[in-house]
Symmetry: C2
């Protein structure tokens, strides 16, 4: 049996599950579909991976509790209160990375505000060449094309503002208490819920475009995270106790980010950084920063007027413009 036949078989199983009011045994499903119980079990696992919530109980069998919400362009664009973010929304079932996809489209001329979303990423990218864990159908993998009239020195602010937009949405629309880890991680109770990857292209003095990738852990369960992430990552569903509409969340993030982006273009950096600081509580924390291969140890003093991290080190004050920050000891709790 080739994998191209699996689709229709999964469809048939779904149909059979939908027809039942409650639990149905694997044996009965097998009879209906002309398959073994073992095959049914494997296919149920596949449906779960695709985001279907299926309960399974010994002796009772399976019950379809909830069908997944697919990413949907209309659901995102309907009533979207943006002027140019999301004017085009591209959705793919699977890509290597939405940032790579959007980058290629930007090189071909895709416009500012176009959004690229995928249900799954085979090579999700994190900052500094890292992998971004990208299980299918559960989370948001979104890349936005920006063509800011900004010198490269100000481009890092875009990542800060994107993380601020996500933090404001998590707080005001979902009642969470997010925390910004410089430069642009969003944490909840010390665990990462969102990461930002901004990739820029342009002449040395003048950025041509930025692809802003936003990865948000939405409905993934902690137990479905790889072991090494279980203690350091979380999701909206984990924190809220219920699943969240990804289309709704995409819409809210676009609506929150666009005005911040426009304000940056108007030179309102100070106000924007003040808003960022409302979620930034790293002052006093002991950190290790790896910047261009050098490790700097220090205590966070704050942010400068360009969004750089100011450290107090044994060698005196030091500004960090880029790099990887590991917090040895948080000064504030969440």
């Amino acid at each position: 049996m080739t994998s191209s036949n699996k689709g229709p078989r999964l469809e048939k199983l779904l149909k059979a599950l939908r027809e039942e009011k409650g639990f149905v045994s694997g044996e009965r499903l097998g009879e209906k579909l002309g398959l073994t119980r073992a095959s049914i079990w494997k296919m149920v696992k596949k449906l779960k991976e695709k985001g279907y919530t299926i309960a399974s109980k010994p002796k009772m069998g399976y019950a379809l509790l909830r069908e997944p919400e697919a990413l949907n362009e209309l659901a995102i664009r309907e009533g979207l209160s943006c002027t140019f973010f999301g004017k085009k929304v591209h959705i793919a079932q699977e890509v290597n990375s939405t940032n790579t996809w959007a980058f290629e489209e930007a090189l071909k001329g895709a416009e500012e505000g176009e959004v690229f979303l995928a249900e799954a990423q085979t090579h999700g990218k994190g900052r500094l060449g890292r992998v971004w864990f990208s299980p299918p159908h559960r989370n948001i993998y979104m890349s936005l094309i920006l063509r800011p009239k900004l010198p490269p020195r100000k481009v890092p602010l875009l990542g800060l503002l994107a993380s601020l937009a996500v933090a404001e949405v998590l707080k005001h629309s979902y009642g969470l208490n997010p925390f910004l880890k410089w430069p642009n991680d969003v944490l909840v109770k010390g665990k990462k819920i969102c990461g930002i990857l901004a990739e820029a292209y342009g002449e040395a003095e003048m950025t041509s475009f930025v692809v802003l990738g936003i990865g948000i852990n939405v409905n993934v369960k902690r137990m479905d995270l790889p072991a090494e992430l279980q203690e350091i990552a979380t999701s909206l569903a984990e924190e809220l106790g219920h699943e969240v509409s990804r289309n709704e969340l995409v819409k809210k993030v676009l609506e929150a980010f666009e005005p911040l982006y426009l304000d940056l273009g108007l030179g309102k950096e100070k106000e924007l950084l003040d808003r960022y600081k409302a979620y930034f509580h790293m002052e006093g924390s002991e950190v290790l920063v790896e910047e261009f291969g050098h490790v700097i140890e220090g205590v966070v003093e704050g942010l400068d007027e360009e969004g750089a991290l100011i450290l107090r080190t044994l060698q005196g004050p030091k500004k960090v413009f880029a790099g990887d920050v590991r917090v040895k000891k948080w000064a504030n709790s969440w």
Copy 2:
């Protein structure tokens, strides 16, 4: 007759010209090759475009004076005193743009120091989306891959240093008196002889690679320039009165640029900018700068410690990090 047959016909004409000690009439060449005098005349024109120096005199005919030097990897690499610039030298007959070519290769993993050269560019790129005039076989169209450990704010310095490298070569190896027009044009007697296009790719805070394009007008004749360039561009051959080996010049530029690049990595910005200033004589010049759509009028005061241009304007002092500089009135002459 298709164009694919022209190659062998040109080869035959070249062979015939090489066999002659002096001038040979178009008529005799035509008889030898079984072609009309008009065809011979057209083919001679083609050979000239390819860089052959062919004298033509009424009644005497044609004489092959000099064959063009082809770009040659061995000639460039032999005795090249660099540690990693030019460790690979790629040469193409024709590309759209060496920067686009090198950029694609860098995305695929080409290493720092790899050099991409072409005999011709069909879409040579200048700064700010402009076209770079790229006649075949006469000039240098070179792109170098750099993977600097620099924050984006310092990347513009690479263009400044590349132009400095070219200026130092023009002065010390060719006896010219070059002049740097900020940010990275090299002028001789007020006319452009070299332009630099640095294209960068990376995360917002950390550059992944820079493709540094260096275009040098080497053996092109002023009369072969488009009308709109004749008053504002020049070439080494025009200034020196004789042709110059492109392979030699490529080698010298790589040898001059590598130590500057290494010094930048060591943080010697101040010394490097002092060397740049030795060729920068814009102080006091009246300029118009277009930066992100705004036009600023001012008088050049100098350069700051990061290589930005400092202007005195009616609204007070102003730093320019990027943009297009038009000089209304030069304060210094060359």
